[in-house]
Amino acid sequence: MNTGKDTLRRSVVTAAVVEDQPAVPHETRHPNPPVTAKGPRKAYRLLASPVLSRPPLLTRDLTSFEKAFYLYQKRLNERLALPFTRYFYYKKGTPSDEEWKRKIRARKAAARDIGVYTAYGPEGWNDEVLVGDRTADRESIMEALARDAEGKDIVENERAGDADKDGQAVTGDARAGEGQRKELQKIVVEGPMPRITEADRTNDQRSLSRKLDRSLYLLIKNKEGQWRFPEDRIYGRENLHQAAERILVQSCGINMNTWIVGNHPVGHHAARFESPILSKISPNRLVSTSNHELEQEEYGEKVFFMKGRIMAGQADIKSNEYGDSEFRWLAKEEVKEVVQPDYWWSVRNMLVVR
């Protein structure tokens, strides 16, 4: 308390002392007076640009070497593993045991995706497929699995022994003389959805269901007719992360569920204009800045790219506020074809290969 009072008194005293001194003119107090701006500010145009991508939804196609290698390893495994323990999985004399016996007679090995291959026989060494063999292809494997699930053999063979019984079953009470073979309802296994979609066939570059095993990037055709990632100035005190979210809303509408990954840019692009451009920056309605229009003489542009992911929804160019006319979802090599060469040079390393 005492000290508080003391300081108060002292400050009052100093104030009085200051009052007593003659008033010093304002100019002499500041040896370096602020430079009053004459003309517009000179600067680079500072832009933020969200790089919105849809990650691959499907696994990639295997190379021919990978296919051959995996098939070889599967067959090798069939040779080296212990035989399938049938009685652990199927009780003796049950229908499923009979079915297993019928199937294994046709395909020779327990695995369904390695073609007809006798692992334990005298020709087990012949485990490599010949040139042009399609056993390891995705379609062949899917077909074999589907056939197996439908109760057929994995390959179309001539029927031998009781193999012609498949698809039929004994109905009624056999002892009462009712037993007769009757066509069962055909089991049809629904395969997976096709990897090639309608958008792939028509090459609909505005669709998100195109090229499902690749990353697609959102590009926009701007006022000047150039293809670029959506971009806009950074206003006021907003940061790159906020700017990226705002630009997505203002350029492609609110019908997108997006996520800006991280607070740091993943790349940047700098370019100089041929001659300085005098541009008037009007305040943005979504950012709190001063309401005055700002004039700026711009010598070039600096674009900072923010990585984003789309979770759901689709871009909508109708509500665009920047005068952009078109949008496309493009894979990396397609981006190269549409953008300017210098833009591609700054952008290429931040786009993933697949």
């Binding site: 990639r60 999985y89 991280g262």
Partner: protein
């Protein structure tokens, strides 16, 4: 077609080391005598051509039939050589580095220790490389401006300071505040993005004290859900209060890595976890503070694995065990590991302890 896409550089890795025969030595000596350009041509030829890069002619492809050739030869010569005359068998025991009969490396299919695989390229592994790792790097990027030098931290292990003669040559003192020397967390770069390293599935079957069948069933369950043979472990110390004695086999573990691990985590996250009822997620405090996270599944949750579900009746009732799943990541803190697992799709609940 099958192997034509493989690059020569890739194939070179699979070639065995060249055996230097006397003729090769003389060839090399002769090469030095040739004019420089001729030597260069020879060398590039040797590097760039492989028998696999060029596609064989259609005639050769049609004619090539190793199995048929062998079959015809066997028909012609009724007496076949015994297998021991042509099939290489590695030595049963390793007799030291000086023994003339050395076993082949483990990667050689003729080795006794050879394990076939991998058989596929798991979806989760692809997604990790294409999506998770780049996103992780963007999220955890820390920017160091030019000229930045990290502040010097105190020594982790303190030295003994004083003039006591006993301080001389003493090992350094432990860290302040405890005995545990925590792992260092380095900034994430493209080199050290955390990844899954290993998964250990563990179960302790208490009921095996009375009936060893429980252990066998648990072993089969673990083997079918992980694809890896389970290892049984002995009890080390008797505990009369639990009714267990040293020497009893009561627990099982499966160590998964690589392909099996990715398939297992993929199944767990995409198939099993969504089906668990009233499950809040993995506890946020889980972790050993060096980047390894553990979770537990009850017996009814283990039964949700597709491999168990398809033939649930095969397992004796009430014998399916619960299990612990230890996920080892290359992250050095729990927080980093949790970010990785969240990306993969593991939900966490409660207070997150780092």
């Amino acid at each position: 077609m099958a192997l034509s896409e493989v690059t020569t550089a890739f194939l070179k890795r699979f070639r065995s080391a060249p055996h230097l025969s006397p003729s090769l030595w003389t060839q090399q000596c002769r090469r030095y005598a040739l004019p420089a350009d001729a030597a260069a041509v020879q060398e590039t030829d040797e590097l760039e051509t492989t028998s696999l890069a060029a596609r064989p002619s259609e005639k050769d492809i049609e004619r090539y039939d190793p199995a048929g050739v062998a079959r015809r030869r066997n028909e012609r010569h009724s007496r076949r050589l015994p297998r021991s005359r042509y099939q290489y068998k590695p030595p049963r025991y390793y007799r030291g580095p000086l023994h003339p009969h050395q076993p082949p490396p483990e990667s050689d299919p003729s080795s006794r220790l050879f394990v076939p695989g991998p058989f596929s390229l798991p979806r989760l592994e692809q997604t990790y490389h294409e999506t998770f790792a780049p996103d992780y790097m963007t999220m955890t990027y820390t920017h160091f401006p030019p000229g930045f030098s990290a502040p010097v931290k105190g020594e982790r292990l303190r030295s003994w300071i004083g003039d006591s003669p006993y301080f001389k040559n003493r090992p350094p003192r432990g860290p302040r505040g405890g005995d545990v020397l925590r792992l260092l967390r380095k900034p994430i770069t493209f080199r050290n993005v955390p990844k899954l390293e290993k998964v250990t599935v563990h179960t302790m079957v208490k009921a095996a004290t009375d009936d060893v069948a429980h252990l066998h069933v648990a072993s089969m369950v673990l083997q079918s859900i992980t694809g890896v043979r389970a290892t049984a472990h002995k009890v080390e110390k008797s505990a009369a209060s639990f009714g267990i004695q040293a020497g009893q086999y009561l627990s099982l573990t499966c160590e998964l890595s690589g392909e099996a691990m990715y398939h297992f985590i993929g199944k767990l996250v995409d198939v099993v976890m969504p089906k668990i009822k009233d499950w809040p997620g993995v506890k946020g405090s889980s972790g050993d503070s060096s980047g390894n996270v553990a979770l537990g599944l009850k017996a009814e949750e283990v039964a949700l694995f597709p491999e168990v579900e398809v033939n649930y009746d095969m397992y004796p009732p009430k014998m399916i065990p619960g299990c612990h799943i230890f996920i080892h990541t290359s992250a050095s803190t729990d927080r980093d590991a949790r970010v990785l697992l969240t990306q993969i799709g593991v939900p966490f609940y409660g207070k997150l302890i780092n």
